[in-house]
């Protein structure tokens, strides 16, 4: 009973989301009346062609961008009503983000990158950092500069960093996009294992249908809306 009840708790709710961009003073609509519900602990994949707006959805969920219209509720917070300060706090505490191009802080070491969300939040715990580095098998490289790491190591650092503040939700934008097939598989397995272990909610943007198939649900972004895919698990 309890497990069922928990599963029904909503982690992310997007209702009637619209988003447009302007290019050369011309309005280009990316998302229109888009809806999405992700339950807590659920793992979903979003696929779609390039330029369809997948990363825009992730940015809206992550609080990196705001929708033009609609309601965005993530971890019980209405993002459109948050101030800039509260939005920053939300990004720091409630979510962890993993980017295709890693987006590590280049001047920092591996350990400093993993500790960065904690330091930004004002509370650093070296034990957690060490444990996360061990989980991603990077303890040996804790004091290395991130520019010297391989692609796989960079993405493992990014995964550890996304878990640094123990957020409820992990958002990953093409996490294996910059990696070769084998490294990509390893990184994805690591991400799945860690989120599974901690019962995190995971949203992955991907092109790779094989990856998508490993998710609880897969949505396709088509005609500015999300449609639940036929190979729904």
């Amino acid at each position: 009973m309890n497990t069922d009840k928990q599963k029904k708790e909503i982690a992310i709710r997007l209702s009637n989301i619209s988003k447009s961009f302007f290019e050369n003073e011309k309005e280009i609509s990316i998302l229109k009346d888009l809806d999405l519900i992700v339950e807590k602990g659920e793992k979903i994949g979003i696929i779609g062609p390039s330029g369809s707006g997948k990363s825009t959805i992730l940015s809206i969920i992550a609080g990196l961008d705001r929708s033009d219209m609609g309601e965005v509720i993530v971890n019980s917070k209405n993002l459109n009503s948050l101030s800039e300060q509260d939005m920053a706090l939300f990004r720091n505490k409630d979510i962890g983000i993993i980017f295709q191009s890693f987006e590590l802080i280049l001047p920092f070491t591996v350990a400093e990158n993993v500790a960065a969300p904690q330091e930004i939040g004002g509370k650093k715990d070296n034990t957690i950092v060490a444990s996360l580095l061990e989980n991603v098998n990077l303890s040996q490289k804790a004091n290395s500069g991130v520019s010297k790491l391989s692609g796989g190591e960079k993405q493992r650092t990014a995964i550890a960093r996304s878990l640094s503040n123990n957020p409820e939700i992990i958002l990953a934008d093409e996490p294996t996009g910059s990696l070769d097939r084998i490294t990509g598989k390893n990184v994805l397995d690591l991400l799945m294992n860690l989120t599974e272990k901690e019962s995190k909610t995971l949203v992955i943007i991907t092109h790779d249908e094989e990856i998508a198939k490993k998710m609880d649900k897969v949505y396709v972004l088509k005609d500015k809306k999300l449609i639940l895919n036929q190979y729904d698990n």
Binding site: L64, A88, R91, F99, L106, P107, I120, G121
Partner: protein
């Protein structure tokens, strides 16, 4: 293909090219404008110097002489001779000391004598031209009578500009100009006056250094003095030289700043085009073609920028010249030298093009993939490239430096000093950042971020800091030098200056004079030549091609005798108080130059009689205090018996100077009186004008350094925005990042300012003492503080603007959405 792609890049990337274009345009404008202003100021000062001397050369002697002793007639283009002396002139009951100049029909050789009304023509025997000083002090107008030696002279004109006075308008004592025939008319006994015969000449061919030295030597042998433009020893010529030396310092500063600016702009320009080149490379373009496109695009932007910059400089130059002429009566206009301007144009272009080479090197070492993902060079390549960059950079720097300084030696020396300064500051900065990086864990997040960013900036960070340091040090240096000169000219020069000087008092008149003015200080004055020092025959030594001693020691010196120290004097070695027969006291610098020590034996020749003395004390004197000073002071027992005149000063209230003048005119007609209050006021006006010139030429380096700082902020902003976006994704606000960006700019400015100020203090004081030869240290400079505050404001505004402009959404600054 190359032209087609180049034009496409120029068209498509025009927004990215705008910043380097504007930066090079402004830099070229400032360099060309500085060249115009400095060369016209230099020409102006040389012209004034020549006019002040009265010819290309002026031979001056207390005895009449034949100019053909110095020049064969065939070498002389024009000649003018004068007789000058000081004397008193009166109108009704008012008398004043004036400088008499008896001229011939060729006067003036250079420049024009400008009158308040009418045109100057050669005066009749009883005509007299007076300057505005005398006009005011005796309330004169044209046609008034003036009395000199009981003969009446008619005022023929009021002189407003005399080319032989500094900046055409000033002289230190009132001047009158008369015809040489007026000497006979006035019935004076010339023997009573301490007169000077001067012959000025314009020569057909420019005098070489060797020719000048031979003339000096010949004049010395004949007991005369030869003066040339740029080699004068008078206070006025010293001031002109001072400003010329300052111009030289400004030139060096402008060279440094312009080069740093051009390098940073061109590097930025090429960096911005990297992605376009990467795409072309990935499509199969050869590296050689990429180079050609880079050179074509760069050349187009650089040439257009320099062309517009030069045009703008020409317009600004005309505007500044007209403002200076209208407000300060300084005419800086001179013939436009097209060849020189084209040469400057080509040098800037060559420098810009050479600055592209390091970027080409970088392109060569990168693969298209690395270019596209904006990868950094591998460590091993960085240092090799730095070395290549430095080697490539030295070449144009050296060329420009040699060209501007007009000296191969100084050009190389300055470049060497710049490289050493860069290297030392880089080492210092690396060491500090390295040390802070090691202990970064103890700092709060914001400081840790700052330290790690600075560490990670690597070579670019080093160059940025050092460039900022060099720019600020250069500007602070100029400002400190300006303050030192200002302080010296305005304050120190008149600190101890007495109210009046009294000249040419005869020995027979001293007792009466002392009875009238018991507080007066008088110094007996005996003229003599040095014969030997410790057995070294000075005159023979000076005949050698490369003598051990300064040629100055061949001239006549004024000796005095007394057994007390005067104000501004201090004994540094030996004992002066009991100076006895056969002993002499030397001035410290004089002794050093002569190679004399305590115990040295000096022989002087006074009117054919040799006097042997032993050095028993060395004195330090403030040579520019305004008080009389003597290099050699003897015991009264040694000199008293020789014929002498006296020179001295009086301290009296300014209201009494008129009465004293009248009294002296009636009792001592051969004695001259100089009111130093008038000198100070006139000197202040002269100084004011020189400082205007200094101010005008200090502005371009300040503009250049501001430009450099703005360039650096803009160049770094792209990386910082990207780093910032990562932090925002992790929970920082955009406001925090903006503040951090501004904080970083301010901290960089603060640290570089502090280091630059300390460095500038050392250099400025070294230049003040050794190069400009003002013995006055300067520690604080309000103008530097204002410059710092202005730069701080400029940085705040630019940082704010740069951060606000194009910040867009956070996603735009993250790599995955990067389309740049």
């Amino acid at each position: 293909m190359i032209i087609k792609f180049s034009l496409k890049i120029l068209h498509k990337e025009k927004e990215k090219l705008f910043l380097p274009f504007s930066s090079i345009l402004l830099t070229s404008c400032v360099v060309v404008l500085s060249y115009f202003l400095i060369s016209s100021t230099s020409v102006y000062l040389s012209k004034r110097d020549k006019e002040f001397i009265g010819g290309d050369v002026s031979i001056e002697s207390s005895k009449n002489f034949d100019i053909n002793t110095y020049f064969p007639e065939s070498e002389i283009k024009n000649l003018s001779s004068q007789i000058n002396f000081q004397g008193l002139i009166s109108r009704n009951d008012n008398a004043t000391g004036v400088n008499f100049t008896f001229v011939d029909k060729n006067f003036p050789l250079y420049g024009n004598l400008v009158l308040k009304s009418g045109v100057y023509d050669y005066p009749n025997d009883n005509d007299i031209y007076v300057d505005e000083n005398l006009e005011q002090s005796l309330n004169l107008k044209i046609g008034d009578n003036l009395k000199f030696n009981d003969r009446i002279f008619l005022v023929k004109g009021i002189v407003t500009q005399n080319p032989e006075s500094l900046l055409s308008g000033f002289s230190f004592s009132p001047k009158v100009i008369l015809a040489q025939e007026a000497i006979t008319y006035s019935q004076i006994d010339l023997e009573l006056f301490k007169k000077e015969y001067r012959t000025k000449a314009i020569v057909k061919n420019e005098l070489t250094k060797d020719a000048k030295n031979s003339l000096r030597e010949l004049a010395r042998k004949n007991g005369a003095r030869a003066n040339f433009e740029g080699g004068g020893e008078s206070g006025v010529q010293f001031a002109l030289e001072l400003v010329k030396n300052f111009l030289l310092v400004v030139i060096l500063v402008i060279i440094i700043l312009a080069l740093v600016n051009i390098y940073s702009s061109v590097s930025f320009l090429a960096e911005r085009l990297r992605r376009s080149f990467a795409i072309l490379m990935s499509l199969g373009s050869r590296t050689r073609d990429i180079y050609k496109i880079l050179i074509f695009v760069n050349s187009f932007v650089i040439l257009a920028a320099i062309l517009f910059g030069t045009i703008l400089a020409c317009v600004l130059n005309s505007w500044i010249i007209s403002i200076v002429k209208n407000n300060f009566q300084i005419n800086l206009r001179h013939d436009f030298d097209l060849t020189q301007t084209i040469l400057i144009f080509l040098l800037i272009y060559a420098t810009s093009l050479i600055a592209t080479l390091p970027v080409m090197n970088k392109l060569k070492s990168l693969s298209p993939k690395e270019l596209l993902i904006n990868a950094k060079n591998k460590e091993s390549n960085i240092y090799r490239n730095i070395f290549k960059d430095i080697l490539l950079g030295i070449f144009p720097v050296t060329l420009i430096s040699i060209y501007f300084l007009d000296s191969f030696f100084y050009g190389i020396l300055i470049v060497g000093l710049i490289i050493i300064t860069y290297a030392l500051v880089m080492l210092f900065y690396s060491y500090i950042i390295g040390a802070l990086y090691k202990i970064r864990a103890v700092f709060p997040f914001v400081i840790k971020l700052l330290i790690t960013q600075k560490k990670f900036d690597g070579f670019l960070g080093l160059v940025t800091f050092v460039s900022l340091f060099v720019a600020l040090a250069a500007v602070f240096n100029l400002s400190l030098l300006r303050t030192a000169i200002d302080q010296y000219l305005r304050e120190d020069l008149r600190e101890n200056i007495p109210s009046v000087y009294v000249l040419d008092l005869q020995k027979s008149q001293i007792e009466n004079f002392k009875n009238l003015y018991p507080d007066s200080t008088l110094f007996p004055n005996v003229r003599s030549r040095l014969i030997s020092i410790d057995g070294l025959d000075i005159q023979k030594e000076l005949e050698k091609e490369k003598p051990k001693l300064d040629r100055e020691f061949g001239r006549e010196f004024n000796l005095t005798y007394r057994n007390n120290l005067i104000g501004g004097e201090e004994v540094v070695e030996g004992n002066f108080e009991k100076i006895k027969k056969g002993e002499v006291s030397l001035e410290q610098d004089f002794a050093k130059r002569l190679g004399a020590k305590l115990g040295s034996i000096i022989i002087v020749n006074i009117q054919g009689i040799s006097l042997e003395t032993k050095v028993t004390s060395i004195r330090k004197v403030d040579t520019r205090s305004g008080l009389p000073f003597f290099f050699l002071v003897f015991s009264p027992e040694d000199l008293k018996q020789y014929p002498n005149t006296s020179f001295g000063y009086l301290n009296i209230p300014s209201g009494d100077i008129g009465d004293v003048s009248k009294k002296l005119a009636s009792d001592f007609p051969n004695v001259s009186l100089i009111d130093t209050g008038k000198i100070s006021r006139i000197a202040e006006d002269v100084i004011g004008l020189l400082l205007v010139i200094i101010l005008i030429i200090t502005i371009p380096p300040i503009v250049l350094s501001t430009l450099l700082i703005i360039n650096i902020i803009i160049i770094m902003s792209k990386d910082r925005k990207r780093d910032g976006a990562r932090l925002v994704a992790l929970g920082k606000t955009k406001k925090y990042l903006r503040n951090f960006f501004i904080f970083e700019s301010i901290i960089t400015l603060l640290l570089s300012s502090l280091a630059a100020y300390v460095f500038a203090l050392l250099v400025a004081n070294f230049l003040v003492i050794k190069f400009i030869e003002i013995k006055k240290m300067v520690y604080f400079d309000l103008v530097s503080f204002y410059i710092f505050i202005s730069l701080l404001c400029a940085i705040l505004i630019v940082s704010f603007f740069v951060w606000a402009k194009g910040t867009g959404s956070i996603r735009d600054n993250l790599n995955y959405e990067d389309n740049n």
